[in-house]
Amino acid sequence: MPISIQPYREEHQKAVKAFNLRLRAGTTDPNLVFYERAQPEWLPPFDGSPLYNQYFVALESEEVRGAYALKCERFFLAEHGEYAVACYHHPLSEGIVNRKYSAVGSLLLRDALGREPMLYALGMGGLDGPLAKMLKVMGWSLQLVPFFFRVVHPYRFFRQMNALRRASWRRALMDLAAFSGTGWLAINAAQSAKRLGRPIGPFDAVEVDEFPSRTDDLWLEAKDAYRLASVRDHQTIARLYPAGDKHLTKLCVSRQGRVIGWAVVGERRKDAKFGSLRVGSIVDCWAHPVNAAAVVLAATQALERHGMDLVVSNQAHKAWCQALAGCGFFQAESNFLFATSKKLSALLSGNLSDFHLNRANGDGLPRNF
């Protein structure tokens, strides 16, 4: 039977549940499931807002054989102004568990490009993943967004960081570093050394329930400092981080009474590779590059106050990367990809280090926190 890709409607919900059951039965990855409600819970279409999610399903008669989502939003592109773009996320194909449907993955991607040629994708677990490979075949541009981490509690880090404790000799070495205190000394010395010679200047940071309207001016003042940035005016960040939402912390950073930046931080959901470590993330942030260091420090201090053992962040722009390094963060291998379709790539100027990109640009909000 032919496969047709259509917007996901309520009448498809039962078939999506059945699709998810087949995926779960055929794989060990519990994350390989599609949204079971047709109406997005996060960023549903609303009142003409340019920021919203849309879901699509691949139907073979009444059975769902695949699905994908588009997060529609606006990017600011230097020399071009604001553009409507979409983030291609959560593509799932029955081909994962039944080879008869191996073509579905490529059909989903082509369908998405037909609906929205200005596409990007973020994350994907690195260059070796199946989606990254398909995007490369389609001529997309793929770049890794730098990853940074800062150890807040060295003892817990050495005892719990499962990703580094896989080999028995490593476990022994990390236990020695933890129990002897040498690990604590080494990490603190290294993180302090990174801070030397980088004065940040005084600032105030307050946790807020709602971002002030001044954030609109902040968006307008700073956007031209970037070659690419996801629109972060007041309307957008109020929609992304609404008042009353408690699972992420919103920070306003000021200097001499004037708001110079903001950040959103949160605790990541438990992940086996981190053991029982509490991992905080600088999820989103905005400021002119000259004020990046103050915002990064404010965000880091907030996460430390909230009891995090480890703080992580992915940042693309050189000023934000330098700010993280200046606050004692180490850079490590990244598997966080930024991929742009041919049409979108053609409009980009500059390098990745001229773009402002965060984890929040992807699809992980809010389910990863």
Binding site: G95, K100, P130, M134
Partner: protein, 83 residues
């Protein structure tokens, strides 16, 4: 489909899926060719488009379930293009 079209499609499939030509049959499909996954399906389609100077719609892409299907589709499109 003509023998020529099938042979050309077979060569493309052999190249994309990394198998000797003689192992590519009319009935070769994702179900019996290990290397035929989503990415390689895309590679296969793009290679067909480039070789035969054709554009395949998503509907047409979806019809390609075997090498024979690919050759039949390409044959039909070539005939249509040549009037």
């Amino acid at each position: 489909m003509t023998a020529t079209v099938f042979e050309r499609v077979r060569v493309i499939a052999s190249d994309v899926f990394g198998l000797p030509s003689e192992e590519i049959l009319a009935t070769s499909s994702p179900e019996n060719v290990d290397a035929w996954d989503s990415t390689q399906h895309l590679n296969f389609v793009l290679a067909l488009e480039e070789t035969f100077q054709l554009q395949l719609s998503p509907d047409e892409m979806e019809k390609i379930r075997t090498v024979s299907d690919a050759a039949t589709l390409i044959g039909e499109k070539l005939r249509a293009a040549n009037g």
